[in-house]
């Protein structure tokens, strides 16, 4: 028995939080360094960032939290998939599929009362997201084609399909702008806090985070999902788990969550579909999920944090003249920092194990 020294166990149990904090620290240091290197005043930049994110209740509720909705939902989509060993890099495309379907049904059924239309929009959009994920799912399960490339390819297909839709069949009635008509009031999500732009989608996203957490923790399916993700061979041979079924369900659920994010956007924020609706949320979601340690409640927290980052980035561009595009640089940096910190933690566990005193060991 190798010594399960208390320090090692503590590292293993609470390491996720440590990794996240270390990653944030690394990101902060590198980001500030990049600002200085780029000739910007980091004080001014960070001040703008903070003001833009949480400077006023208006900013916090109407910008930061509103932006966090698609980030939480796509983050949950990615975290769920990654937990099962499904490399869904396609949340972006699934989000667009949901947005397209949501707008379409919202426009078509806009005459019906809100308590019918809104749920209809959400359900149809989730289904569309799942359908968009179905192609890579079947290619993996039936043909053995890895989902990494196929999900990315589906993203591009979705983006061009949106381009076609808003120039063609779904273009607004005047036919001037490349976007759809605005959704009728009945098809829009009600406000969560009156007087702000925060819509009920935020509450739905948080509740879904809690629900996923409980599913992963307590249910047989959640446990099987984790087993398949950790060790497909042990899941199949010892757990007698039908890994293909788990992957099918998980992949489609992941797509549905991303599709739901698209619906929340068109029904809660923009009320119309246009090209470039998402500034790459499906990719940012990967950073969100990883920084959260693939934990659903972590995704909620990190999603809000990234919402603040995106909100603050706009203010930084306005006030400090820093290009908003740097935000995806920061998000990439977060991913790399999480990876580096995670390896650092492994290294720590290893050296702690090796430093353990022989007296603690009982071999055999």
């Amino acid at each position: 028995m190798l010594t399960p020294g208390t320090r090692v166990n503590r590292l293993l149990r609470f390491g996720g939080l440590g990794v996240a904090l270390a990653a944030l620290l690394i990101t902060g240091v590198v980001a500030v360094g990049a600002l200085v290197a780029g000739g910007y005043d980091p004080g001014v930049a960070l001040g703008a960032l903070v003001r833009g994110a949480v400077g006023s209740p208006e900013q916090f509720f109407s910008v930061t939290l509103v932006r966090s909705v698609p980030l939480i939902l796509t983050g949950l989509a990615v975290a769920l998939a990654f937990r099962a060993g499904v490399w869904n890099i396609g949340a972006e495309g699934q989000l667009y599929a949901g947005a397209m379907a949501g707008v379409w049904i919202g426009l078509a059924a806009g005459d019906l009362p809100g308590w019918i239309v809104v749920p209809l929009v959400l359900v149809v959009a989730s289904t569309a997201g799942a359908v968009w994920a179905l192609v890579p799912t079947l290619m993996r399960l039936r043909l053995g084609v890895g989902e990494v490339i196929t999900t990315i390819l589906m993203n591009f297909v979705a983006i061009h399909l949106v381009g076609y839709m808003v120039h063609g069949p779904l273009q607004e009635s005047r036919g001037v702008f490349p976007q759809t008509d605005a959704l009728a009031a009945a098809a829009r999500l009600p406000a969560l806090i009156p007087g702000t732009r925060l819509h009920v989608g935020f509450a739905v996203a948080v509740l879904l985070g809690v629900a996923l957490w409980l599913v992963l923790r307590g249910t047989v399916f959640g446990f099987r999902l984790r087993a398949v993700g950790q060790s497909p061979a042990a899941a199949r041979i010892t757990g007698r788990i039908d890994g293909k079924r788990v992957i099918l369900v998980t992949f489609l659920a992941s797509g549905a969550l991303a599709g739901l994010a698209g619906a929340m956007e068109v029904s809660g924020r923009t009320f119309a579909l246009y090209e470039g609706l998402s500034p790459g949320w499906g990719y940012t979601a990967i950073a969100v999920a990883l920084l959260a340690g693939l934990h659903p409640m972590g995704v909620v927290a990190v999603g809000i944090m990234f919402g603040a980052l995106e909100g603050g980035a706009g203010a930084m561009q306005r006030e400090a003249g820093i290009p908003a595009a740097w935000v995806s640089g920061i998000e990439a940096l977060v991913i790399l920092a999480v990876l580096a910190a995670g390896q650092g933690r492994k290294w720590l566990v290893q050296t702690r194990l090796e430093r353990g005193r022989p007296a603690e060991a009982s071999v055999g």
Binding site: L143, I152, Q343
Partner: protein, 309 residues
């Protein structure tokens, strides 16, 4: 006669549009043969495009742009390799981050340098170099023998890399590293060294591809790589990890993009978004039809050495 002219220009455009794919895919073939799948290829590509544009401006020469693009693409791959080979991180996630970072940072640098609306850059052109006599061959001449120097470079690299991979001791070692790193190490091969440099080489080629893209269109546009890094990954699969077939597969995909112009010339009314999506749809179809028969390097995307934790 009009049809013949159309065919001629279609073939020429296929090769022209296939060149960046071929360059990036050839580099990726080498790194995948060593067991590293670089999803960050798109990042190297866009960085190479911006580097190529800035380099060409600074040196006032297209060739200078190509060199700068190669260096920048390689530099991005150095970051990627430092993570996946040095720190042994997951290749898929790291690569995704590199692509995100590449697109973000190039956008930020471009905006910082040229402003938001973008004074349109005008770059020294990458003019085509006709091969004497041969370029006069009807139909095929302009396609094969009246192209930019990068096109000839891609073909020569295809042949050289084929020889290198299958007919040299280096190539044997590299393939062994991608198939079974443990066995390669036991035989005395430097696994991490090989993987590192194979990956950097892949980034270098993607950088050249990006520079070609910028110089060929005469300007830099944010996100102009347009997913070619991902298509190049598929080209490698279709080319069965064999440099010669990779070049052929790349030209095939170039043809898919070139179809857009031919259809327009023929006056067919197909939405142009369809042609934008066509390469991706074709890639999906081709993956579905081909992957079953192609066999990836066994250790592709596997971190090495394996750790117990």
């Amino acid at each position: 006669m009009a049809e013949l002219a159309l065919l001629t220009s279609f073939l020429a455009a296929s090769v022209r549009l296939g060149v960046p794919l071929a360059l990036a895919a050839l580099g990726e073939t080498v790194s995948e043969r060593a067991g590293v799948i670089n999803i960050g290829l798109e990042g190297s590509l866009i960085a190479g495009a911006l580097g190529g544009a800035l380099g060409a401006l600074a040196w006032s020469s297209a060739f200078g742009g190509i060199l700068t693009g190669a260096a920048v693409g390689a530099l991005v791959a150095v970051v990627f390799a430092a993570f996946v080979v040095g720190l042994n991180t997951d290749q898929i996630i790291t690569g995704t981050a590199i692509t995100m970072g590449g697109l973000g940072v190039t956008g930020a640098v471009y905006q910082a340098r040229f402003g938001l609306t973008g004074t349109t850059l005008t770059l020294p052109p990458l003019s085509s170099v006709p091969v004497p006599l041969l370029h006069r061959i009807p139909v095929l001449g302009p396609a094969l023998f009246d192209q930019a120097p990068t096109a000839y470079f891609a073909v020569v690299m295809g042949i050289l890399l084929w020889y290198g991979l299958f007919r040299t001791e280096w190539g044997l070692e590299l393939r062994a590293v991608g198939e079974s790193p443990d066995a390669a190490q036991a035989a005395g091969v430097r696994v991490r060294w090989t993987r590192f440099w194979a990956t950097v080489f892949g980034g270098l080629m993607a950088g050249i591809a990006g520079a070609h893209l910028a110089l060929d269109s005469g300007t830099f546009i944010e996100g102009m790589s347009g997913g070619r890094g991902f298509i190049a990954l598929a080209v490698v699969v279709l080319g069965r990890w064999n440099p010669l077939w990779v070049v052929v597969a790349a030209i095939f995909f170039g043809g898919a993009s070139a179809l857009q112009f031919s259809m327009q010339a023929l006056g067919w009314d197909v939405p142009h978004q369809f042609f934008l999506a066509l390469p991706y749809l074709l890639t999906l179809a081709a993956l579905a039809g081909w992957v079953g028969r192609a066999r990836a390097p066994s250790a592709l995307a596997h971190p090495w050495p394996k750790t117990s934790i």
